[in-house]
């Protein structure tokens, strides 16, 4: 089993330890919101199993973030050999003090380059439950683009919108599982197959969920309307919560501003880390999507049987 290191970084009180506790220690998010945790002192390590690997998680104290971003020795101790550095920032701070956050992320980028850590930098915009907007899908999409634009770096960072709100709790699970699954060999192989399959399709997206109902793979054609993403996550989560509900009639799904054709296939038989393969498309019909599924299953069959 391979081990990957992942570091959680961010300003004080954005919720790094809370996220860790809710996801890996099964604590009640409602309670943690009402009775906040004390500040973390010193780096905390913990190890968690995920798919075919072990994740060693580093929870860094927010109070010492400025020191961490200056002190090379500390950086090496924290970030060397990390597969991913997750920078967590919250929506209220983003709207009032975006420059400060931009500075942090740019510094992280420079540190990562300078020491050649080769870590993936991943952004979690947390507490999106505070963004009350009738057009939440477009708003999140817009904010995501704004952030990468303001960062003005050679590469765009993946941004996940997260929340511990009981109705949005899947956002944080998805963000973590998608980030971690990038290190899994099984999931990388499947991701390649999916990418190849939908390469020439238009306005189509594919997800793979695991047994817990969290998304481990997401791959889409470049012209896919990303404002619908938020609604898709929600729908997928609802499906995973009510497995007794027959999905056979669900040919279409109402995802924000669009009506998408959808299709689901259980691919758990190939590997225990996988559960559902889901396709959503604005342009393609059921038959086309079924063909994709056949192709993918054929390739999976060759690998796992």
């Amino acid at each position: 089993m391979i081990t990957k290191r992942v570091a959680l970084v961010g300003k004080p009180e954005v919720g790094k330890t809370t996220i860790k506790k809710v996801i890996f220690e099964g604590e009640d998010p409602n309670e943690l919101v009402l009775f906040p945790l004390e500040a973390t002192i010193g780096i905390k390590y913990s190890v968690h199993e995920f798919m075919d690997m072990k994740i060693s998680l580093l929870d860094t104290p927010g109070q010492s973030l400025p020191i961490l971003l200056q002190d090379e020795e500390k950086q090496i101790a924290s970030f060397e050999n990390t597969g991913a550095i997750i920078y967590i920032f919250d929506y209220p701070t983003w709207i009032t003090d975006s420059q400060d956050i931009i500075d942090d992320i740019q510094t992280l980028y420079k540190i990562n380059k300078k020491h050649d850590f080769g870590s993936k930098i991943v952004l979690f915009l947390h507490k999106v439950d505070l963004l009350i907007d009738k057009k939440i899908g477009s708003r999140l999409d817009l904010i995501g683009k704004q952030i990468n634009k303001q960062l003005d770096l050679p590469e765009d960072f993946p941004i996940y919108f997260t929340s511990l709100h009981p109705n949005l709790i899947y956002t944080i699970y998805n963000a973590i599982s998608d980030t971690f699954s990038n290190f899994s060999e099984d999931s990388s192989k499947l991701k390649e197959i999916i990418k190849k399959t939908i390469k020439h399709s238009s306005k189509t997206i594919c997800f793979v969920s695991n047994r817990e109902g969290n998304l481990i793979i997401q791959s889409s054609s470049p012209d896919f309307d990303t404002t619908t993403l938020y609604y898709l996550y929600e729908k997928i989560y609802q499906f995973s919560k009510t497995p007794e509900q027959p999905l056979s009639n669900n040919k279409f799904i109402n995802a924000g501003s669009k009506l998408l054709c959808m299709i689901i296939e259980d691919i758990g038989k190939f590997h225990p880390s996988f559960k559902n393969l889901l396709f959503f498309s604005e342009t393609l019909k059921e038959n086309d999507l079924n063909e994709f599924i056949n192709e993918i299953e054929k390739e999976l069959g060759q690998i796992y049987n």
Binding site: T96, D133, N254
Partner: protein, 345 residues
């Protein structure tokens, strides 16, 4: 703004009033267990306030009776304003019902409690601000809501004006701002405490680009207020389409014609929709309620594969949305209906 009030006796909700979307049933159960734990702890404060995601939860507890009064408000409401309301409410309630609770024959008379609670809603000063540059129709809209004669000639508002509007039995304070640049130093002060902000525009590109300034102001002063763009002057030929404005501004946009006196209910519905008001608050909100009910229905029909029915419902909602000034949603739903229809062949 006060969104909900709960009174909980021996773990049972004995009174609940909903003005706007707040905690739903499952969320309430979750929250209540945690609050109870905190409220009945040995040295716990009798009166306290928590931020719970997009809401502020404030409670006062009567330990001897196992009684909790819970207010659900927006994050913008300050605890120092909520506190006296909570204390007064507890006192008033106990003056009435203390003996009944003791004797175990409590019968809540909503006709007595409702007006008291409505008054608390008012005392917490629910505030709606209309912002925008000069001449876009802020005062016309304010006058429209107040049912005053609509000015056909532009008389600039000096500094600002406050009016009250009623939605059902509820009172809201409507702040009309002076739109001239020379008053912009006042905007920051005036906008504070807003529950909703209407950014009034005249639907011209120039004005819209300029108006983006107000997003900064809102983010800085009232980040938790609900914000919508009002695309006014939609009757003019050069007006940009609502769906284009919505895309340009990245914010929910409603179409409007302030000089049409028939549009008064429309503006009230826009405000109610923005604040997620409970449909029971006023009969005027019936279309919003209908829209939401039909949305659920369409969702179910779609899941069951009853596409003919779904098309029908989508088109019904689309018409309601037009009436509500939500043009972009109307178009979206029409497109969805068309797509389904073409699939059905």
């Amino acid at each position: 703004m006060l969104r909900q009030i709960y009174i909980i006796l021996n773990d049972n909700i004995i009174y609940q009033r909903n003005y706007a979307k707040g905690l739903d049933d499952s969320l309430f159960t979750n929250v209540y267990l945690n609050i109870k734990k905190a409220a009945f702890a040995k040295f716990a404060d009798v009166i306290r306030s928590y931020e719970f995601f997009e809401f502020k939860l404030s409670y006062i507890v009567e330990k001897s009776l196992n009684l909790i009064f819970l207010f659900v408000t927006g994050l913008g409401d300050e605890f120092k304003n909520i506190k006296p309301q909570l204390s007064d409410f507890r006192k008033e309630f106990l003056d009435f019902y203390h003996d009944n609770i003791k004797e175990n024959n409590l019968k809540i008379v909503t006709e007595i409690l409702d007006p008291i609670v409505d008054n608390i809603h008012r005392n917490l000063k629910p505030k709606i601000s209309i912002v925008g540059f000069s001449g876009v129709g802020k005062t016309t809209t304010t006058k429209l809501i107040k049912s005053e004669e609509i000015p056909m000639q532009h008389i600039p508002t000096i500094t600002g004006e406050v009016a009250t509007i009623k939605i059902g039995k509820l009172h809201f304070f409507l702040w009309d701002f002076a739109g001239q640049d020379q008053f912009d130093f006042l905007w920051e002060k005036f906008i504070r405490g807003s529950d909703a902000v209407l950014l009034m525009t005249d639907s011209t590109l120039e004005n819209l680009e300029k108006s983006k300034y107000f997003f900064l102001l809102v983010n800085k002063e009232v980040p938790y207020a609900r914000l919508a763009v009002i695309a006014n002057k939609q009757d003019l030929p050069e007006a940009m389409k609502v769906e284009d404005i919505e895309r340009l501004m990245g914010t929910k946009t409603y179409s409007f014609i302030a000089i049409d006196p028939n549009n008064r209910p429309k503006m009230i519905r826009i405000i109610a929709d923005l604040l997620d008001m409970d449909a029971k608050v006023s009969p005027l909100l019936k279309p919003i309620f209908e829209r939401d009910t039909l949305m659920d229905k369409a969702q179910k029909a779609l899941e069951l594969g009853e596409f003919n029915e779904t098309v029908e419902i989508f088109e019904k909602i689309s018409n309601i949305c037009l009436e509500l000034g939500d043009d972009s949603l109307a178009i979206e739903l029409q497109e969805k209906a068309d797509k389904l229809r073409s699939f059905l062949g």
